[in-house]
Amino acid sequence: MRQYIIRRLLWMVPTLVGITLVTFLIVQLAPGDPVKLATGAGGEALKATSTAKQIIEEQRRLLGLDRPLWQRYPVWLGKLCVLDFGTSFRDWRPVRTVIAERLPITLEINLLSIFIAYVISIPIGVFSAVRAGTVRDHVVTVILFILYSLPSFWVAYILIYFLAGGNYYSIFPVGGINSAGSESYGALHWVADRLWHISLPVLVLTYASFAGLSRYMRSGMMEILRQDYIRTARAKGLPERWVIYKHALRNSVIPIVTILAGLLPSLIGGSIITETIFNVPGLGRLAWEAVLARDYPVIMAEATITAVLALFGILLSDILYAVVDPRIKYD
């Protein structure tokens, strides 16, 4: 196993280089030119003058876009090795700062969301699997699917309207991640204030995943419950609870573990819709704005971080597979 892990880690390096190279090429070859965007070349003023072309050239040089692609990539890669992500085209701040500003709140919201999703979905999945086919199972299914079908922006607006906007109840704030003047709060007060603010966004991000996650849990569990060794355990007279939690659960977790791999990169992702509606300054909005403005340094930085997380997530889930299920062997 240890050999396997080391091999995988070694493989990560060329894979990462490959991923970043592909991303670099595609991003820069796609239509849209950050220089023209920034200089508002669609606008009236820029092109009307004799010096416009020269100005665009100067701007290109300023942004480092005058060198050909095959020169730009190694430069970028070199800087990456010392963790220098460059400066943003839009506000000239180091990309590290820009991302670091938004990282904590993004992590908080995503971690909380994943945690809640699992804590709720797994028991529901087990419940459904054990009572598969009964009325209760069907009712739960229908409720979950209704939840899944509700578009997130609709849920967000409804929650705000009824719980936050002041038209009905004003239990939650309308947006933002902290109250004004919260810098002077004590630690506990600040945490409570933060939680109060992110409750609604977290809820909106999480509700849709109950359906999927619990479905995977349920189907995995049902697989297991059909197995012979479960029948044996029951025949032996073991209490049902014991059978489920001690024997069945461990094995039915396998598909859920695969999902974990996909969740690691989503830790730094974010829903642009939710972040806009609730005014959460997260990485989702940043990524989106960077793409629209063709802010290459920020785009590349986020793509790289996501790739690293994805690779680690995949490795982690592969390892967990082997740990959880002795039938799986890597050789």
């Binding site: 606008g43 009307a48 000239w92």
Partner: protein, 604 residues
């Protein structure tokens, strides 16, 4: 199982059969579509404008309802109702108190507060409050009034603009403001290592900026230009002693914490939360009454409206549908006043027809297109009547705009006639007009492109598409992501485009309309070429007698109206609500001026 299927099918047939309908109207020849398949050139039936006109005619006529039930208001009625009580006379008390906090709203963070490198609108707004320009327009007369410059002279050859600066202006850290700051700022703008391509381009014809003494600045131009004075007057300086510290200008921290000389002082900027300004007690001029202004950053419009209704936000710009529906509710009528005005720095929308394409090279076709866009219908319905159709390229309150020109009406019959005259007829009978161009038969099929997310553009396009179909023209609608869209536009690679142009009080149509600006060199993206227009534009550029210039531009307006290189669409007013606790809000022609506002002591 099989039985069930048969029963089902039978039921379906019966259900559908119940929808049969018989004719009740007596025969009228004008209504019948031509039923003669033998004709080789079928005259396409001109769809009548009757249905749309009926909708517009009597408000409420389209919505008959049983007696006793309130008919829902038509959009035009809603619009008219929403204007009731708008722009009220300002409330002025006997005693005006200073103090209080005014909360406004931005929908996103500015990218920078550096007046030289900053590009976006919100950055400009903040800078306007934090740093003064040399002079500024009066919001009613549009004349320039002194600010940092107390007086100025223009040389007779219009190449030298001399500004005499006030000697009592201090930067907000106490250091006096001098002409050296102006020169420093200009040098930074012209520095290729500074990220200011737009500003640099703006001053491209300025040969030099010099400071003969501490309180005098001279702008020297390479050639005379009627916009020379506004360009210089709107100059916003930065402080040399703040920026010239060896740190790179683009990433200088003062770009996020500006030190200005204007009526408000920057306090702090919490990213994605708010920007706070406080009154500059050392301001040389008339100080504003309100001591603190906070700009809350709220990306979502609906959330912003909710925050306004709960008293958190005092001043808010709203969309037309919010203006008409949401703020008509009691809570808004009770707590807010509403204002609408056509901002001098607003915009207008248009559909541009690329004259390089065979279809749109002919003026008659372009005019036909204009006749097929039901502008009045869109204005009354989709925009609730809260817009004006424009006929030209100038700000509607500018003397350059000719209000006597009436927009071409929606007239599908006339459009069909024009297309026929231009020899676009359905020769091959497939329902789409065609024409012989360079020996080949070309079908009248084109693509209408616009930036994705532009809802009005999309709606206009879909309406036009429907009308065109009836007129025998096929139009495809193509939304494009902004950056991709810009590329296509710049390369002239499109058939029809819809977009808008920003306006200013005074404008030079050269960039948009002169034939030298076609192609990569300019913004004449539709390749408009007209010798008379060219000469009018050139003359106006160096005509310093305002009255004569207005006359020239009126001539230009007439040419544009005749040629229809664009189908001009609308200019929409700014719609704002201001909390009633803010007094002395005067609805000026051009904008609202927050400098005059105050909040009475008991409401602070």
């Amino acid at each position: 199982m099989k039985k069930a299927v048969v029963v089902l099918l039978l039921a379906l047939v019966l259900a559908v059969a119940g929808c049969g309908k018989s004719g009740t109207k007596p025969r009228e020849d004008t209504d019948a579509p031509p039923a003669n398949p033998a004709s080789t050139e079928s005259t396409l039936a001109a769809p009548t404008a009757a249905s749309t006109e009926a909708a517009l005619a009597a408000p409420g006529a389209a919505h008959q309802s049983p007696a006793g039930v309130e008919a829902p208001l038509t959009p035009a009625e809603l619009g008219a109702k929403s204007l009731e009580g708008a722009n009220p006379a300002p409330v002025v008390d006997a005693k005006i108190t200073d103090g209080g906090t005014l909360t406004r709203r931005f929908s996103s963070d500015p990218d920078s507060l550096n007046p030289v490198t900053g590009r976006d609108y919100y950055g400009m707004l903040i800078n306007e409050l934090v740093t003064d320009s040399l002079a500024k327009r009066n919001f009613d007369t549009f004349e320039y009034e002194p600010r940092l410059a107390r007086s100025w002279e223009i040389s007779s050859d219009h190449l030298s603009y001399t500004f005499h600066l006030r000697d009592d202006v201090k930067w907000q850290d106490g250091v006096p403001f001098t002409s050296d700051d102006v020169v420093y700022t200009f040098d930074r703008i012209m520095d290729p290592k500074v990220d200011a391509p737009q500003a640099r381009n703006y001053f491209t014809d300025v040969e030099s900026v010099t400071a003969p003494d501490k309180y005098t600045v001279v702008f020297k131009w390479k050639k005379p230009y009627f916009l020379g004075f506004p360009t210089c007057a709107e100059f916003v300086p930065v402080a040399r002693h703040v920026f010239d510290t060896g740190v790179d200008f683009n990433s200088h921290p003062a770009g996020r914490a500006p030190v200005g000389n204007g009526m408000y002082r920057f306090v702090n900027w919490k990213t994605s939360e708010q920007i706070t300004l406080e009154r500059n007690e050392g301001y040389y001029g008339r100080k504003p009454h309100i001591k603190r202004t906070v700009f809350r950053i709220v990306p979502d419009d609906n959330a912003a409206l909710l925050m306004a209704s709960s008293g958190v936000i005092d001043v808010l710009g709203v969309r037309p549908d919010q203006w008409v529906k949401d703020i008509d509710k009691d809570i808004f009528r009770r707590d807010f006043n509403r204002y609408y005005y056509y901002d001098g720095e607003g915009s207008y929308g248009y559909i541009g027809w690329n004259a390089r394409r065979p279809y749109f090279a002919d003026r008659r076709v372009r005019l036909a297109m204009t006749h097929l866009v039901d502008r009045e219908g869109i204005r009354r319905n989709l925009l609730y009547g809260l817009a004006q159709i424009v006929t030209g390229t100038f700000y509607i309150y500018s003397p350059d705009y000719d209000p006597s020109i009436k927009p071409w009406p929606y007239d599908p019959a006339e459009a069909a006639r024009l297309l026929d005259e231009a020899d676009w007829k359905d020769h091959d009978g497939d329902g789409i007009r065609d024409k012989m161009v360079d020996g080949q038969s070309v079908k009248f099929t084109f693509t209408y492109m616009f930036p994705a997310g532009g809802t009005l553009s999309q709606k206009t396009g879909e309406l036009l598409q429907e009308q065109l179909k009836k007129a025998g023209v096929e139009m495809n609608i193509r939304p494009l992501e902004w950056a991709t869209f810009l590329e296509r536009l710049n390369e002239g690679d499109f058939d029809a485009v819809t977009l808008g142009w920003a306006l200013s009080v005074e404008q030079d149509p050269y960039q948009l309309w002169h034939s030298s600006q076609i192609g990569q060199r300019g913004s004449n993206s539709v390749a408009f070429r007209n010798a008379e227009a060219d000469s009018v534009i050139e003359q106006a550029r160096v005509e310093f007698d305002a009255a004569k210039r207005h006359e020239l531009y009126h001539r230009f307006d007439a040419i544009l109206h005749d040629e229809q290189p664009y189908t001009f669409l609308f200019t929409t007013p700014s719609l704002a609500i201001v909390n009633k606790r803010v007094h002395n809000v005067v609805p000026h022609k051009m904008r609202l001026d927050s400098r005059e506002w105050y909040i009475p002591a008991e409401l602070q």
